[in-house]
């Protein structure tokens, strides 16, 4: 194996004392920016970027990518503890992570999330190591119709499997699409839905929407419902960290399935966000305990986390081999690459072997360093849950306000974040699902662009979505997922089976996702 030899060579570059030290520094800084919402990985990496100009490119990328791993792990911490996802891709983690933490098991929730995230990342790196050239070719096969088909699949896997009333899901999706449409339209170049507010031309930032919908929205519900009973007594138990990680292999089916979904969505340009949502939706469908999803199920944490990290890791490959950054963070790193004098693209693997394989080797080592460090900090973070609600609630508001402001130093964002808080509250009270709304905000405009680009290419014929084997498979899979619940219901009706007696999930539980 050629690649294996290159990898060993890469390990020789990555495992030096100075590089290991850089990894530890990077991961710690990353956890810090990940935990502080609003700062986030892209900002953290751009702050650090100028410091790397004097470094060797390999050392610089090791520092930056370690920070990225740290931030990814750190982002899950706030999702689980405070229901505030720091990155789009950790939204799905809140669905079961937050209820579990509220239930007095924050240590278990965090340890499970970190353990499965590490597994996902590992699978992603292994894929990169062995299939580098093949993966690059797969990504090239994706034109606008294929992009659209992937997004369609993500929507379908979620909508068809969500627990809420289908019409409410559709309404939530519709509102999400409308929000995603705000700003300049890529295809026509015109300004849409700014409602006379000049600044809205920039569109609605995801972080702003999510901090309001989840952070503030949840807070409002909590204030109303159970003001007193919110402080959670959690014992700091080191052994629970290892027990939770030790229990992971029992869910090996979920782990493997989620890793596969993650890798597939990472290579194809679906990205980590679509991957985590899709993985969660499918897990809910196929898990025997699917009806309990949304109340703190272990597999509800494993599935999105594994897929998120598998996708996040394997998405670095298109960046290196094709020069397409899969995320904002990857875009900043690419900017760095150019400043260091390297050109991302197909030639990087030929011209800069030391750099590429040093980076890949550092992904193995960096993730191990990251997971070790975050597992060590789990009890510290879990202890945050013991702070009484009256203390933590104002802190959450401050974090959300500062976070929304720091996205682009704009007061409008703070106002919008508060507005989204009210929307989140109303959604919860009226049993509308938040997940389709968020999914539509995040990938709605991309799906729209891809659809309209396809229509331009085909001059308005929908036949383009069945023009080759790849796109046909994706679209058919999407339609099947969309119609599956309907078909099952029909089949049940035809067989005249009485409805399941006494469905134990309440409407409240069902509506959480």
């Amino acid at each position: 194996m050629d690649n294996l030899q290159e990898l060993l060579h890469g390990f020789g570059i990555a495992i030096t004392l100075s590089h290991l030290a850089l990894m530890v520094i990077g991961v710690l800084l990353g956890i810090l920016v990940g935990v502080l919402p609003g700062l986030g990985a892209p900002n953290g990496v751009s702050l650090l970027l100028p410091l790397t100009f004097g470094m060797q490119p390999v050392s610089a990328i090791i520092l930056l990518s370690s920070m990225y791993w740290g931030a990814l792990f750190g982002g899950s911490v706030t999702s689980i503890l405070f229901n505030i996802p720091g990155e789009p891709s950790s939204v799905a983690t809140t669905f079961d992570g937050y209820p579990m933490a509220r239930d007095g098991r924050p240590t278990t929730a965090l340890a499970t999330a970190f353990g499965s995230a590490a597994f996902g990342a590992l699978v992603g790196v292994i894929l990169i190591t062995f299939l580098a050239s093949w993966v690059a070719e797969v990504a090239l096969a994706f034109g606008p119709p294929e992009y659209f088909a992937v997004y369609f699949l993500a929507f379908a896997s979620f909508v068809g499997m969500g627990g809420a009333a289908p019409i409410k899901t559709v309404v939530a999706l519709g509102i999400g699409f409308a929000i995603a449409a705000i700003g300049i339209d890529t295809v026509s170049g015109s300004v849409r839905l700014t409602m006379g507010v000049d600044e809205l031309v920039k569109g609605v930032n995801f972080v702003v929407a999510v901090m309001g919908l989840f952070g503030i929205g949840e807070l409002l519900v909590a204030v109303e419902e159970e003001f007193h009973a919110r402080a959670v007594s959690s014992k700091i138990d080191w052994r629970e960290v290892f027990r939770a990680v030790g229990r992971l292999p029992r869910h090996s089916v979920a782990l493997l399935r989620s890793a596969a979904i993650g890798c597939w969505m990472g290579i194809t340009p679906g990205g980590p966000t679509a991957a985590s949502f899709m993985s969660y939706g499918i897990a809910r469908r196929f898990s025997r305990r699917g009806r309990y999803f949304g109340t703190g199920e272990v597999e509800g944490i494993i599935s999105p986390e594994t897929a998120d990290h598998a996708a996040g890791t394997s998405a670095l490959l298109p960046m290196l081999s094709l020069g397409i950054p899969g995320s904002a963070t990857a875009a900043v790193m690419m900017g760095g690459l150019m400043i260091w004098g390297l050109n991302p693209g197909p030639m990087l693997f030929v011209d800069q072997k030391d750099f590429v394989w040093g980076l890949i080797a550092s992904m193995y080592v960096g993730n191990i360093v990251a997971v070790a460090l975050v597992l060590l900090t789990v009890p510290v973070f879990a202890a945050l849950m013991r702070i009484p609600f009256v203390v933590i609630a104002p802190l959450i508001v401050i974090i959300c306000v500062v976070g929304a402001y720091s996205v682009s130093n704009s007061y409008l964002d703070v106002v919008m974040m508060m507005g989204f808080g009210i929307v989140g509250y109303l959604f919860k009270k009226l049993f509308y699902p938040l997940a389709p709304l968020v999914l539509a905000i995040v990938i709605g405009d991309k799906a729209e662009d891809a659809f309209r680009q396809s229509m331009l290419m085909s001059k308005g014929s929908l036949g383009i979505f069945f023009a080759n084997r790849l796109v046909t498979c994706l679209v058919v899979a999407g339609i099947v997922l969309l119609l599956l619940p309907l078909a099952l219901q029909l089949a049940r009706m035809l067989l005249r089976k009485p409805a399941l007696p006494g469905d134990p999930t309440t409407s409240q539980e069902k509506v959480i996702i």
Partner: protein, 330 residues
């Protein structure tokens, strides 16, 4: 006491300033914000960061400089921010010809006249790119093939520089092209590599990696003369080996994308003069030459009347294309 001495000092400073060249009259007193009207990693962002690094390295001003990205709405976010900061000399906006182009074709809440032009610092070239294994060797072959069946041309954004050039090619080459807008040139380059579109018109730096990697090649450059000789990109060819489009029978002699620098409106002439001078100093450094060479741009420096004239000319031309296409907003 302190007040008096400050007063005396500033009086002395004014007297001294009267003797020194006009550019030294105003000095920044607090940190300066560089606003890139593009996301991190884009061409405009790279320029803002390159200028920041040079200023910091040579200590061209005592004040720290921070770069912020306001690239939403194809850059409109940054210009609107500049408009809202009228009179504030601590915000420097980095953009392109977008500043006067965007208000022409979409209802954005700014116009370039809301800003104070400082300089156009570099010109990015455009080339016509096709897939590596495409049968045509020259722009002439390309046009012949395009006349036979409608080609798909990719580009960044809609009704922007890329689409304007596409429409010019259509008109001058007597062909019909389907323009597919993507978010960025880099995205268009990947789509060409995958064979989903037939061509695009990226800047050199946007497709450099793809050319080296053998997924696509430039047919011709929209430039009056061949691009300057640099290092070889592929084993046999460098930028100077790419013929001009005119040589190959596609009669578009010049099409360039200026990288522009602005202050908000209502700043004083002294404040503007300080930044013009600062950018001139930046341009004189070897690091700037290095940046220009790495990104394969043309080193230019337009300011004052020359810049105004350039903007007016470009605007006239754009108006013509936009009205032919029915893009002008009412």
């Amino acid at each position: 006491m302190r007040n008096t001495s400050t007063y005396l000092l500033s009086a002395a400073a004014i007297v001294l300033a009267g003797m020194a060249p006009a550019s030294a009259a105003w000095q920044p007193q607090k940190p300066i914000e560089f606003v890139a009207t593009a996301g991190p990693g884009g061409g405009t962002d790279n320029l803002a960061r390159a200028v920041q690094n040079i200023i910091t390295k040579y200590k061209l001003t005592d004040q720290p400089i921070v770069v912020v990205n306001k690239g939403g709405g194809s850059g409109a976010e940054g210009y609107v921010y500049g408009k809202a900061s009228a009179g504030d000399p601590y915000k420097v906006i980095f953009g392109t010809s977008n500043a006067w182009q965007q208000p022409l074709v979409s209802k954005v809440a700014f116009n370039y006249t809301d800003l104070t032009p400082i300089a156009a610092m570099a010109q990015d070239e455009f080339l016509l790119w096709v897939k590596q294994d495409a049968p045509y060797k020259t722009a002439g072959d390309y046009l012949k093939a395009a006349a036979a069946n409608e080609f798909k041309m990719g580009g960044a954004q809609s009704k922007d520089t890329d689409e304007v050039l596409t429409r010019m090619i259509e008109k001058i080459g007597h062909v019909k092209l389907t323009y597919i807008p993507f978010k960025s040139g880099a995205e268009a380059a990947v789509q060409l590599a995958g064979g989903h579109i037939d061509s695009h018109i990226n800047n050199p730096s946007e497709s450099l990696g793809q050319w080296r990697g053998g997924t696509q090649r430039p047919l011709c450059a929209f430039s009056p003369k061949r691009l300057p000789q640099g290092a070889k990109i592929t084993a046999t060819e460098g930028w100077s080996d790419v013929p001009t489009c005119v040589e190959q029978g596609l009669d578009i002699a010049q099409y360039e994308q200026p990288r522009t620098v602005w202050l908000p409106g209502k700043v004083t002439p002294e404040q503007a003069a300080f930044y013009v001078d600062l950018m001139k100093k930046v341009q004189a450094t070897p690091e700037w030459k290095d940046y220009i060479e790495k990104t394969s741009q043309v080193d230019t420096f337009l300011t004052g009347d020359a810049l105004d004239k350039f903007i007016k000319q470009d605007l006239e031309h754009l108006k013509q294309v936009a009205s032919e296409q029915g893009w002008l907003i009412k």
